[in-house]
């Protein structure tokens, strides 16, 4: 149904960003917290507006923007992620010399970009959303202006991100040339009708894949990830590892859904995705073994998780994909929240050695971080296990047994480095003097919410599963 109501959540996010940006001028630096609360209020509005369109299949701009149930579920997830990140930033930005009200505005703008990406099947609109997201992300990565690593992260992200965008646009141009459309269903129809596979279309598709591969950090396009994740302010890293990744996968889902079966090159696409999935799982996990900085470990772990998510795409288990994204949101933001707990004014303790003996000295940070890491490693009864179970069981059902075997062995490797952090926390005597400020109620709220999410999704996901299944069922079938 064509209705401007489908734009309302998006407009609320953008309006929130602009208002926060404006308010920042009038609010004293010490009271920046209020900007966070205003942003949270806008997030609530976005969620409310999005949820009220549930099951209504609204669209606008001749259907290029489509607020279907999947987009609504994703919008809610993104808002949740942004809300958690805002809560994490409240104290952090003051502590770590990043006290700029822009962070909230930029997060809201990035949210708008994510929402555009996930609610369109038109590649040009997707590109638009991606750019909105990317531009705000570059600024977010460099938020700690006086910190060299943060600057490096921003620059690296900007340069490589621009390359990726260029690839993507070039790919779109090729695709448009071959199929005379940027709307995915039409591209497929036009390519499928052609008697012989079109080389131009294939090149276009490959370039699009490269572009998105950069954005969701698939091996071999992952090189930027560890540096950017390490350099960016930690709450922003938490956001990067969850938001853009989820949006990228939803785009992959919409672009590479089953309907490629009609096109002659479908098996080529399949094996390209298969190879990237395997490489991502193996490289991400193996390189993580050698890291000594916890933030970098989590960066590589997030690369590895992209590999598991690719398994979901290959197995065409879309509800499993969305469930995995939801589980990943809680466990990863939770883990980063614990990392943010490991800080005091001007210092962050992120080396593995800093974690020695933390578990018994700060039981809440140590305990929750352990649970998040175990969930990332896929131990039951946490969300991480159930997510992997769904994805792998769907993959086995589609006959991808070798992929699953590689996947479980890769996750065995991951168990080692996740548990290594736990080893440091509980089984090593404290070495370096680590003195963290635990007075941060918002942080503990986030830890608690993520813990709740990880356990709820792991033990009784009941309704959430049903909602996700409904959302995926609403995907258009061509």
């Amino acid at each position: 149904m064509n209705s401007p109501a489908s734009l309302f959540p998006l407009l609320a996010a953008v309006a929130g960003a602009l208002i926060v940006l404006l308010l920042e001028v009038f609010i004293k630096k010490e009271k920046r917290d209020y900007l966070g609360f205003v942003s949270l209020a806008f997030l609530v509005a976005v969620v409310g507006l999005a949820v009220s369109s549930w099951n209504r299949e609204l669209g606008f701009f001749q259907g290029t923007l489509h607020l279907d149930n999947l987009a609504i579920v994703l919008t809610v997830l993104f808002c949740l992620a942004v809300a958690l990140v805002i809560l994490l930033s409240l104290k952090y930005i003051g502590q770590q010399d990043a006290n700029h009200g822009e962070i909230f505005a930029l997060l809201l703008l990035a949210l708008a970009g994510l929402m555009i990406m996930t609610s369109s099947s038109d590649l040009l609109v997707v590109f638009l959303g991606l750019e909105v997201l990317s531009v705000s992300s570059y600024a977010l990565a460099g938020l700690r202006r006086r910190d060299e690593k943060s600057g490096e992260a921003a620059l690296k992200y900007f340069l490589l991100g621009s390359f990726a965008s260029a690839f993507l646009v070039l790919g779109l141009a090729f695709l448009f040339g071959a199929a005379r459309s940027t709307f995915v269903p039409e591209i497929i129809a036009n390519l499928g009708n052609a008697a012989s596979p079109s080389l131009m279309g294939l090149i276009g598709l490959a370039l699009v894949l490269v572009g998105f591969g950069f954005k969701i950090a698939l091996v071999p396009f992952h090189m930027w990830t560890p540096d950017v994740y390490e350099g960016a302010p930690t709450p922003v890293t938490a956001f990067f590892s969850v938001g853009p990744k989820a949006a990228g996968f939803i785009v992959l889902l919409r672009v590479f859904m089953d309907y490629w079966d009609t096109v002659q090159v479908s098996s080529l696409i399949f094996w390209a995705l298969w190879t990237m999935s395997v490489l991502t799982m193996i490289v991400g996990n193996l390189v993580a073994l050698r890291q000594t900085n916890v933030k970098r470990i989590l960066a590589y772990s997030s690369i590895a998780h992209a590999g598991y998510l690719m398994v979901a795409i290959l197995a065409r288990d879309y509800s499993g994909l969305v469930f995995y994204l939801a589980a990943y949101l809680f466990m990863n933001i939770g883990a980063f929240a614990a990392l943010i707990g490991m800080s005091k004014t001007g210092t962050e303790y992120l080396e593995l050695d800093d974690f020695a003996g933390i578990g018994f000295r700060y039981p809440w940070i140590g305990g929750t971080l352990s649970i998040f890491l175990l969930s990332l490693a896929g131990f039951p009864p946490t969300a991480g296990f159930l997510a992997k179970f769904y994805v792998f069981s769907a993959a086995v059902r589609s006959g991808l047994i070798s992929l699953v075997v590689i996947g479980v062995l890769a996750s065995l490797v991951s168990v080692f480095y996740y548990l290594r952090i736990v080893v440091y926390m509980y089984m090593r005597e404290p070495g370096r003097e680590v003195d963290i400020e635990v007075d941060n109620p918002a942080l503990f709220l986030v830890l608690f919410l993520c813990l709740y999410g990880v356990l709820q999704l792991g033990i009784f996901p009941g309704n959430i599963l049903v909602i996700i299944k409904q959302a995926v069922a609403s995907l258009p079938v061509f």
Binding site: F379, P381, F392, V396, I401, V404, V405, L409, L412
Partner: protein, 532 residues
């Protein structure tokens, strides 16, 4: 609806653990008493299982079933004559383990006990689950507390030992997960419905080649857990480094999860594959028996001696399981309980020595019996039970095992009997060096004999050793039916199949199949035919 006893047994310790989280850390003694109370209540409640269990039936009893996540994932609990005893063994040993760490554990008492309680819940959960998903959840979840118990409270090489333990176990169980997923998808393809119920999978007849792969997936996970040679390398490390109670639980109960897995899953699910791999597995079990015994002979550390004796004893149990006859399997189950008691007791005894001497090297001891006469008597009983002296529990189990093995292969039985000789050799020689002879050093003179707490946890074990040695009927009677049903499933899969689905003609998808279950089996069979 009767009282959900199995749910209670599984989750009561969890409740205890959650309670302990909220008790302030400083009150270490309160933590100890609470943990003891929770484990004792669990044990007393589990006695109800024994009294109400009907040994003449092979069906799972005390069944609880309710939906959970859909798609065949149900919350389905039940015990039969095999798992009944393993549950009781667990609940029996848990309070003992808590008592044995009363003074041994001094740092982080609260966390230690929390993990012990979680561990108990996980282990019981493994034994009572009748749904493969649920089983796998407990199977994996139980690794986490064990990982912490060894890693935090263990000896000097604890981190290495605990990571080795977790990674090796996970390696097996992740491949088992793949096998479970394959079964899951086969069942779905054959019947159009989702199921992860063990009893549904028993009805599946799979193409022998597929069975082979799936069997390997399951068997590897269980073989690592048992552990069978050559997958045993984690065991000596984990045992030596773990705190006393950790070793007790590890040896007494955790290893049994492997043998239980063979009995419950690997054997009845894949009988054709079993036939193919039987010679290989039997030889591995035999190598385990002899290799474990020889290694035990040359150990310098008492604890690693007991650890290698475990490898040897578990080899005998596995060999008896693979004999696939009533004596062998009953003997194996009986010997699982015996091994739990006697090896558990030996670790406790070593723990008592260690608390006094702070060393476990055999050469540091000598003449201890003159200082600790009561202790030496208990030590000797536990040791003889492990050696298999008639009148004590080990004898009954070993004889049954050897009978079973003898029935299937004379040569194997003769070679396997070496376990008795080897056990006598390494254990008695160790006893002689530690307890007799001149007093080795001055420190031994200050050793105090066992105190009341230590007596309190060894006496129940010794009573059970005598009981199981003198009157095994109490125990064997409850498992008869379950064992013969199990063997029926292994040997007569085709026959059961015919009995359950009617004459052969109806197997090819004939409409005479009446119930839903029949139709499912028929379809499963058709699928099998196609694959062949």
């Amino acid at each position: 609806m009767s009282f959900p006893i199995l749910t209670f047994l599984t989750f009561f310790p969890v409740a205890g653990a959650v309670l302990l989280i909220f008790v302030p850390k400083e009150k270490a003694n309160l933590h100890r008493y609470l943990a003891l109370a929770f484990t004792l209540i669990t044990f007393l409640a589990s006695l109800a299982l024994y009294f109400n269990f009907d040994g003449s039936s092979a069906d799972p009893q005390f069944v609880e079933k309710s939906g959970w996540l859909g798609y065949g994932i149900n919350y389905h609990l039940g015990v039969d004559g095999i798992s009944l005893w393993l549950v009781l063994l667990t609940t029996f040993l848990m309070p003992i383990a808590v008592l044995s760490s009363w003074t041994y554990i001094q740092k982080q008492v609260k966390e230690y006990l929390i993990f012990m309680l979680f561990l108990e819940a996980g282990i019981i959960g493994v034994f009572v689950s009748l749904n493969l998903f649920l089983f796998y959840v407990f199977w994996e979840a139980m690794l986490i507390p064990m990982y912490f118990l060894i890693g935090v409270w263990g000896g000097p090489r604890r981190v290495y030992a605990t990571l080795k333990f977790v990674l090796m176990t996970m390696f097996g169980s992740l491949l088992m997960l793949v096998a479970i997923l394959v079964l899951y998808s086969f069942y779905y393809k054959a019947t159009g419905t989702y199921s992860l119920e063990i009893f549904d999978f028993y009805r599946l007849i799979l193409n022998p080649q597929v069975q082979g792969w799936l069997f390997l997936g399951f068997a590897l996970a269980f073989a690592i857990k048992v552990p069978m040679f050559p997958f045993h390398t984690w065991l000596p490390d984990a045992h030596v480094e773990a705190p006393t109670a950790g070793s007790v639980i590890l040896a007494a109960v955790l290893l049994k999860m492997g043998t239980y897995g063979f009995l419950r899953f690997a054997l009845p699910l894949f009988p054709d594959a079993l036939e193919k791999f039987l010679p290989l597995l039997s030889i591995l079990a035999l190598i385990g028996i002899i290799y474990g015994g020889l290694m035990a002979l040359i150990q310098k550390d008492i604890k690693s001696l007991v650890a290698y004796s475990s490898v040897s004893h578990m080899g005998l149990i596995m060999l008896a399981v693979f004999s696939l006859n009533t004596e062998g399997v009953q003997g194996a189950i009986y010997q699982m309980l015996n091994h739990g008691l006697s090896t558990g007791a030996l670790f406790l005894v070593v723990g008592i020595l260690y608390e006094r001497a702070h060393t476990r090297l055999i050469k540091d001891f000598g003449g201890v019996s003159s200082q600790m006469p009561v202790f030496s008597a208990f030590f000797l009983v536990c040791l003889l039970s492990s050696v298999g002296l008639p009148g004590l529990n080990g004898f009954v189990g070993e004889i049954l095992c050897l009978f079973g093995i003898f029935k299937s292969s004379h040569l194997l039985a003769i070679l396997a009997a070496s376990t008795v000789i080897l056990a006598a050799a390494y254990l008695l020689w160790m006893y002689q060096r530690v307890m007799h002879g001149p007093i080795a050093n001055e420190k031994i003179r200050s050793f105090k004999d066992m105190n009341k707490r230590e007596l309190g946890y060894l006496i129940p074990i010794v009573i059970m050793m005598f009981w199981m040695g003198v009157y095994p009927q109490t125990f064997l009677r409850k498992m008869d039916a379950s064992v013969s049903r199990l063997l029926d499933r292994v040997h007569n899969r085709e026959k059961i199949f015919l009995r359950e689905t009617g004459p052969a003609s109806s197997l090819k998808g004939d409409k005479s199949a009446e119930t839903e279950a029949d139709r499912m089996t028929v379809r499963a069979f058709a699928e099998w035919e196609k694959r062949k």
